[in-house]
């Protein structure tokens, strides 16, 4: 497939936003049961929530560049019964609304305690909004990934690993960002976020490696024989039916050399996984916000490459009909 930059930015940016929100919610949940120190509502959860929201807004803006007719985008909520894209279109603004409410509640300290147990554990209203947000976050990860995983003849995508990778990679980048944010605003949470960021990145490395291994050994179900229905082992296309190319030759190929694709693959395997883990480890020990922010930026750049490769690797069966490009 042709990697469209609008979709690459959409999926990576909302991944960071979702991951960061999950990190904030995790922090608040831990502090609610007194596993970690309670943080400043305005400076940490309020500002952090707005940062997460900015990433989601950025992703939403990027998505509009993918549409031919963005002025009609509102129509795309119609077919949620059948289309994962439509479901994503509904869940993304829902999540943005929930994160907005969550951030506002924290920023202006409009929170109320709904229930206090005998041990002094409090249930705050923001935690309920946060729970709804966390559910929406997971729903959005599933919707985004299922857009790709639901197309059964794109064999590289049609796997549960696609969903797992989107979930883990987005969460990993969000937790990495949360680590550097915590170092600046809530040092008590540094090791919590830092350790989770390292663990999630390491697990994501395993699942992404598993999908790379799976895709390297894929046997194409469709062949040129089944595509044109002629039983002969040697079939060669002589003409595609057009001279100067068409959408079929532009939208379904990456138009890059095999060497370039290989560089991107190894590039993202280094940038997304070992480098940020190393920088996180150094950053946690030296308590350096700039090193931790560097870990996030490197991981994000790596994720852009990862997403490019994700699209480039998928081989659409329609390419069987367009082999002379």
């Amino acid at each position: 497939m042709h990697p469209a930059f609008s979709v690459i930015f959409l999926t990576t940016l909302i991944g960071v936003g979702q991951g960061l929100f999950l990190a904030l919610f995790t922090g608040q949940s831990y502090s609610a049961v007194k596993l970690v120190a309670t943080q400043d509502s305005t400076a940490f959860y309020g500002i952090g929530g707005f940062i997460a929201l900015m990433f989601l807004v950025g992703g939403l803006i990027a998505s509009f560049f993918h549409l031919g007719r963005p002025e009609r985008a509102w129509r795309s909520a119609a077919m949620w019964r059948t289309s994962w894209l439509s479901r994503e279109v509904i869940v993304l603004p829902t999540l943005m609304g929930l994160i907005f409410v969550y951030s506002i509640m924290h920023f202006f300290e409009w929170d109320t305690v709904l229930y206090t147990s005998k041990e002094g554990v409090t249930l705050q209203l923001s935690l309920i909004v946060g729970t709804l947000g966390a559910i929406a976050t997971f729903a959005l990860f599933i919707c985004t990934a299922m857009i790709y995983a639901a197309i059964k003849f794109l064999q590289e995508w049609s796997s549960p690993l696609t969903v797992i990778n989107y979930l883990l990679l987005g969460t990993a980048s969000g937790f990495t960002l949360a680590t550097s944010f915590a170092n600046a605003n809530a040092p008590e949470l540094l090791s919590l976020y830092g350790n989770w960021a390292i663990i999630i990145t390491a697990v994501a490395f395993l699942s992404r490696s598993a999908s790379l291994h799976r895709n390297a050994n894929i046997k194409a179900i469709s062949t040129i024989q089944s595509a044109i229905g002629i039983r002969h082992p040697k079939i060669q296309q002589k003409s595609m039916g057009m001279q100067g190319g068409s959408m079929n030759t532009r939208d379904f190929f990456h138009h890059k050399s095999a060497a370039f694709v290989k560089i991107i693959k190894w590039g993202f395997m280094i940038l997304v996984f070992p480098t940020p883990i190393l920088l996180l480890w150094i950053g946690i020990n030296s308590e350096s916000t700039s090193i931790l922010l560097g870990a996030f930026i490197i991981q994000y750049v790596g994720l852009l490459a990862e997403r490019w490769f994700f699209f480039a690797q998928a081989n659409h069966p329609q390419n069987l009909y367009y082999q002379t490009t």
């Binding site: 795309s76 059948t82 197309i151 469709s222 044109i228 229905g229 002629i230 039916g241 367009y322």
Partner: protein, 243 residues
């Protein structure tokens, strides 16, 4: 239920592209608006088409055969492009099974092109909406046309009658009979899309002549004795007679 479709006979298609040009001509002049061309007279001409004829070489020289292969939307019975459309612009008509795009609802997100294994859909790069074969839906029901002309433009244009049009659900229609009797098949059956358009394979027309057909088997001379034939160099009647 009716399912209109095309049956394309690869045995008689000569690859003249008349179906391509007639399709473009009809649909670019239709009420749904033009089909964009970019650089039509320039170096890399490109544009929106509903139908294309591709050419394949089967086998290895000298045992090769050229197959011309017209491909347009196959109007799948279980069309994978329809459920993925987020706006409902892509739909399959109940009454005749034609898969259509509502140009006023399409947002140009291209998800349906990903979901079509045949590459049958093309985005109009200027109007930014998805387009595809309509089976000339604006023509086949037009009662101002003589009944014989209420067929898709490509079918009417084909000089070798390689394209047939009809209801593949009606067992007695011309297309169903051809599919049944001439070995009609579907493209990429492995994805369960159940395409309505069918292709008729190459059929070799061979004469089977047996030896006993070259020799008259019931020649009575086989039972009676054949008369002695004269030596080849013996004089004939012409040689010995002055007439």
């Amino acid at each position: 239920m009716t399912q209109l479709a095309l049956v394309i006979d690869l045995n008689v298609c000569v690859g003249c592209h008349a179906c391509v040009t007639s399709c473009k001509e009809w649909n670019t002049s239709g009420p749904a608006g033009f089909m964009t061309d970019e650089n039509p007279y320039g170096k890399d001409p490109t544009g929106t088409f509903f139908n294309r004829v591709q050419t394949y070489e089967i086998g290895e020289f000298p045992k090769t055969e050229t197959v011309h292969f017209p491909k347009s939307c196959l109007h799948c019975e279980d069309a994978p492009c329809v459920p993925v459309c987020p706006t409902g612009a892509s739909y399959k008509r109940e009454q005749d099974g034609i898969v259509l795009v509502d140009y006023d609802k399409c947002i140009g997100c291209r998800y349906c092109t990903w979901a079509c294994p045949y590459g049958a859909r093309e985005i109009d790069e200027e109007q930014k909406i998805m387009k595809k074969c309509t089976l000339c839906v604006d023509r086949i029901y037009d009662e101002s046309l003589p009944e014989a002309e209420r067929k898709p433009a490509c079918v009417l244009a084909c000089p070798t009658s390689a394209r047939l049009f009809g209801d593949v659900h009606d067992p007695d229609s011309e297309v169903s009979i051809q599919i049944r009797e001439e070995g009609g098949y579907q493209l990429m059956p492995e994805w369960g899309t159940n395409p309505s358009n069918h292709y008729l394979p190459r059929r070799k027309i061979r004469m089977h002549i047996h030896e006993d057909e070259l020799q008259r088997a019931d020649n009575p001379l086989n039972k009676e004795q054949r008369g002695p034939s004269a030596p080849v160099d013996a004089p004939t009647l012409d040689d010995s007679t002055s007439w």
